[in-house]
């Protein structure tokens, strides 16, 4: 009888400590995930260049957009995917290659073309953020009028349209809040 009690107590103890350990692991796991999902210095540099480029397009400044396109291409090439999971690395390499090409085109085009490339670039950057995460809260905004609908990312909730600039500055809405 005494033995049985002892056994039950032992089993309970084991069960408790086991579930506790699991809980801890879960927490650790969450912690890890949060750490990797908050962006790294390279992805943050890409985002910073992307936002500056977007702002140049908002102000219809083609020359500045071209300079920033070249800058963005450089930071894209400097991206370090090695700290991501193997399956993510492949996707990231694909995204970065595509985005680099669009950034390079923006560096040498007129504003109409710059905006065309910015549309696909925005999709790439948005897909990158889905993997890398970002330090600050981002807003995915959407203008239904531009070329069958065009999205972009912004750090500001207020809509300022990079596809139309001054012509239709506030056209669009916040589609999604990221983070």
């Amino acid at each position: 009888m005494k033995n049985l009690k002892k056994n039950i107590a032992l089993m309970l103890l084991l069960a408790v400590s086991f579930s506790n350990a699991q809980e801890k692991e879960k927490m650790n796991h969450n912690h890890d995930k949060m750490m990797t999902m908050k962006g790294d210095t390279k992805s943050e540099a890409i985002l910073s260049d992307y936002f500056n480029l977007k702002n140049a397009l908002v102000t219809d400044d083609s020359k500045k957009a071209a300079e920033l396109g070249a800058k963005l291409a450089t930071s894209l090439k400097a991206f370090d995917k090695s700290k991501y999971k193997v399956e993510e690395q492949k996707e990231l390499a694909d995204i970065i290659e595509d985005a680099t090409e669009h950034a390079e085109h923006i560096a040498k085009s007129d504003i109409g073309h710059q905006r065309e490339h910015f549309k696909t670039l925005s999709k790439d950057i948005s897909d990158m953020v889905a993997i890398t995460g970002a330090k600050s809260t981002l807003y995915e905004q959407f203008c239904p009028m531009y070329d069958g609908g065009g999205s972009w990312l912004s750090t500001n909730k207020e809509v300022k349209n990079p596809y139309y600039g001054n012509k239709m500055l506030t056209c669009g809405k916040v589609k999604r809040t990221i983070n």
């Binding site: 694909d94 995204i95 290659e97 595509d98 090409e101 669009h102 065309e116 696909t120 790439d124």
Partner: protein, 150 residues
């Protein structure tokens, strides 16, 4: 009068001289398995249009008419081919990821839609390379469908 003669002779000598400068020809044997026409089910009229209008600068094989072998035309052409292939090489289509294909298709559609491609300097000589309004719609529709099927 004498000066004009001398200049003419110098130019002639220079013209003949540059004909002997080596030039890289964009030609290769066979079509790789990754070719756009081989991996996609392209209707024959569109296939023919792309071949005639695009493949000279966007593939590994250029059809060279005689005047394209004369300098400095050949240099001018060579530059365009190099640039064209760097942007898009139909022969290497299937080596691109879905994301890259969608990107390229978007650009193809925009370039044909806006009339930027094929280039004016090209269609000036290659009349058959120019797109009619109907052909533009036809090719764009095909490319749109292909993009949506990726």
């Amino acid at each position: 009068m004498k000066a004009v003669k001398i200049i003419a002779i110098v130019l002639l000598v220079a013209f003949v001289g540059i004909q002997f400068m080596p030039v890289e020809r964009n030609q290769s044997d066979g079509v790789p398995k990754t070719d756009f026409m081989l991996v996609n089910d392209v209707p024959s009229d569109i296939k023919n249009k792309l071949q005639v209008s695009c493949y000279d600068c966007h593939s590994n094989n250029t059809q060279y008419p005689w005047y394209n072998k004369v300098q400095p035309v050949a240099w001018f052409l060579e530059g365009h081919i190099k640039e064209g292939k760097a942007e898009l090489n139909f022969n290497e289509w299937d080596s691109l990821s879905s994301r890259r294909k969608a990107s390229k298709l978007r650009s193809i559609i925009k370039q044909i839609e806006s009339g930027e491609m094929p280039m004016d300097s090209y269609t000036l000589i290659h009349k058959e390379a120019a797109f009619s309004e109907e052909e533009i719609q036809q090719v764009i529709k095909y490319m749109e469908n292909l993009k949506d099927s990726l």
